[in-house]
């Protein structure tokens, strides 16, 4: 650690005489010291976030290849190719369907679970931890588990046939829309615990006295939920809705593993990130095209974020 060289004597000294502003901490150090604290983090930010953003834009106008070699400026060619690429259209449609199914499920179910684990009854820590377990497992592990369960002869098809819900096995892992739906169920299952925690934090901010006051006024459980709980978690709910939308655009490992990297027959169930990954390596790769896809993806993920800003501005009275 090279942090020891920041222990230069504090040059500013206590600022007792100066009128203090409320914002920000007291000035008690020299000019250099804070930047020494910040240097590694800022350096990393420059090299692995800011520079790559600029470089992505630059590369999108070239024909850069994964294995290096000379790069040529190609103008807007990559972007005009995207517009004519059926796989990109497919990927975007998949994302939208994925998002529309995930959104209601992942904004409502985790809230119900959070309400279930909110009260500190005996053993609740065990349940909270267990409900969080799918979150900590790797998407690869989870996708392998679900691949086995959704197999033609797997648990889901077997049980459903045994209970006569379906006649023959459903092709969960080969049919385009069933792949998307399988990825949705996996994502919802894996995400429940994550969003549960966010709701739990929000519920923790609700004063008990509010509930008590409502109960004294004779409000039933349902009414208390709509009058006290819902307004309290409104912010968390908006945040979660946006997180779910952004996550829907970033799906990769689940579909990649469940389809063995193919994206189903003809790659119809491919996601945007799968396309980016596909173009990122080997002799057939094209970093210029992959960069153009990355830019497209960035702008699409911006939509839900801007929407959140707008809704937040409106709702925050």
């Amino acid at each position: 650690m090279t942090v020891t060289d920041v222990s230069a004597p504090a040059a500013g000294g206590p600022t007792s005489g100066r009128p203090r502003r409320d914002t920000g901490p007291t000035r008690t150090t020299g000019r250099i010291t804070p930047w020494l604290f910040l240097a590694p983090a800022l350096g990393w930010l420059m090299v692995f976030s800011i520079w790559p953003s600029l470089n992505t834009v630059r590369m999108a106008f070239t024909n850069a290849k994964p294995l290096g070699g000379t790069e040529k400026y190609v103008g807007f060619e990559n972007f005009s190719l995207i517009l004519r690429d059926d796989q990109v259209v497919n990927a975007l449609v998949n994302s939208v369907v994925f998002m529309l199914v995930c959104l209601p499920l992942l904004t409502v179910l985790p809230l119900l679970i959070a309400l279930l684990v909110e009260k500190k009854i005996p053993g609740i820590t065990f349940f909270r931890t267990a409900f969080y377990t799918p979150v900590i497992a790797s998407a690869v592990v989870v996708a392998l588990i679900w691949t086995f369960m959704l197999d033609d002869r797997g648990l889901v098809n077997g049980l459903a046939q045994e209970l006569s819900i379906i006649q023959g096995p459903l092709p969960f892992l080969t049919d385009r829309w069933l792949i998307v739906l399988s990825a949705v169920s996996l994502t919802v299952w894996k995400g429940l615990g994550y969003y549960m925690i966010i709701y739990l934090a929000a519920l923790g901010n609700v004063g008990k006295d509010l509930h008590e006051a409502a109960a004294m006024d004779g409000a039933g459980a349902v009414r208390r939920f709509s009058v006290v709980t819902l307004p309290a978690v409104r912010g968390a709910m908006l945040l979660i809705a946006v997180l779910v939308c952004v996550a829907a655009l970033r799906v990769f490992s689940e579909v990649f593993i469940m389809t063995g990297g193919t994206g189903g027959a003809g790659g119809e169930a491919m996601t945007m990130v799968m396309l980016i990954q596909q173009y990122s390596r080997g002799f057939t790769g094209d970093l210029g095209y992959a960069s153009a896809l990355s830019i497209l993806m960035f702008f699409i993920t911006l939509v839900p974020l801007l929407l959140l800003g707008k809704l937040n501005g409106k709702g925050g009275e």
């Binding site: 590694p40 930010l45 931890t129 409900f131 790797s138 049980l159 990355s294």
Partner: protein, 307 residues
């Protein structure tokens, strides 16, 4: 996994209230905070139901990994308990792929991620929250701005950077970009900011410099958030798939998730082996989380993760 249960609370349902107390008990139940016996039973029934959904698939995979080749794993009525439990599938995974070296590779990447994120984001978070200097707001804004950037959008350019540093197909190349996450800097900033200003002023009067105040005064008070960051960094690095998939090409450099994908591609028809492989990747992380979960939930209550 016994460390999971809360040791502070007894693991049994409290007995029903004695009859003389019944009256007060019922009146209390109208007030939020106490639970009637019927509600309690209903709650536990629902909890067990959600429990089955959330850990059932893991148990099913564990069970499959322990089934011998003589046992049908595709029965219509699922057999959760293996008829002849065996570790055979695990030894077969060990023979097929160098699992131990994959685990070593994953541990190396995860260790760098934890070290980098804990050290650098506490330093940066402290400076942003507790030191006053020109440019503080701009630095803070930079960290905030990168939050909206999805990592996948810069992954191609990051690969080019790593390739130009001659780190393509190396574990250092896998680990390097993940050693600081802007989110962690902001989490530390948030934690340091919540400490009262007085503790600093006392230390300043005592002549402590910025680093001494960081190390002796502020850092001990934010241990919960540091724990959350360490746990999340470890899990994130251990579970990551896309980035190592792009960076790594030689099998001897594979991390566990890449090795697992290789295993499932090569032995696609051997579900017992894939199950054993996925359990090898899952069980360590489950143990890490089960051991540290108290710090995790405490850190979150501290205000580490708030919308």
């Amino acid at each position: 996994m016994s460390p999971v249960t809360d040791q502070k609370t007894p693991a049994v349902v409290p007995p029903a209230p004695a009859p003389p107390e019944k009256k007060t008990r019922r009146r209390q139940s109208k007030v939020f905070g106490s639970v009637t016996r019927r509600e309690l039973v209903l709650r536990y029934v629902l909890l067990v139901l959600v429990l089955l959904i959330s850990i059932g698939p893991f148990l099913w995979q564990l069970s499959t990994s322990l089934k011998s080749t003589g046992e049908d794993i595709y029965t219509r009525i699922p057999q959760l308990w293996p008829s002849e439990p065996t570790l055979d599938n695990y030894t077969r995974v060990m023979d097929a792929i160098p699992v131990l070296s994959f685990i070593g590779n994953s541990l190396f990447v995860a260790a760098l991620a934890v070290a980098g994120n804990v050290v650098f984001s506490t330093l940066a978070g402290f400076a942003l929250a507790r030191l006053r200097f020109r440019g503080r707001k701009i630095a803070l804004g930079l960290f905030l701005a990168t939050l909206i950037l999805p990592g996948e959008a810069t992954i191609i350019a990051n690969f080019v950077t790593i390739r130009n540093l001659n780190l393509a197909d190396t574990l250092l190349g896998v680990a390097l970009p993940g050693m600081i996450a802007a989110l962690n800097v902001l989490l530390m900033y948030n934690a340091f900011r919540q400490l009262p200003g007085e503790i600093d002023q006392a230390a300043v009067i005592d002549g402590a410099n910025a680093f001494q105040r960081f190390w002796n005064v502020s850092l001990p008070s934010v241990r919960g958030t540091v724990a959350v960051i360490a746990i999340f960094s470890f899990i994130g690095a251990w579970d990551d798939f896309l980035w190592p998939l792009i960076v790594l090409t030689s099998p001897d450099q594979f991390t566990l998730t890449i090795g697992l994908q290789y295993l499932s591609g090569t032995f696609a028809n051997d579900q017992r082996m894939i199950a054993a492989g996925s359990m090898i990747a899952f069980i360590p992380i489950a143990i890490v989380f089960a051991t540290l979960q108290r710090h995790f939930f405490k850190g979150i209550e501290e205000g580490g993760v708030k919308g």
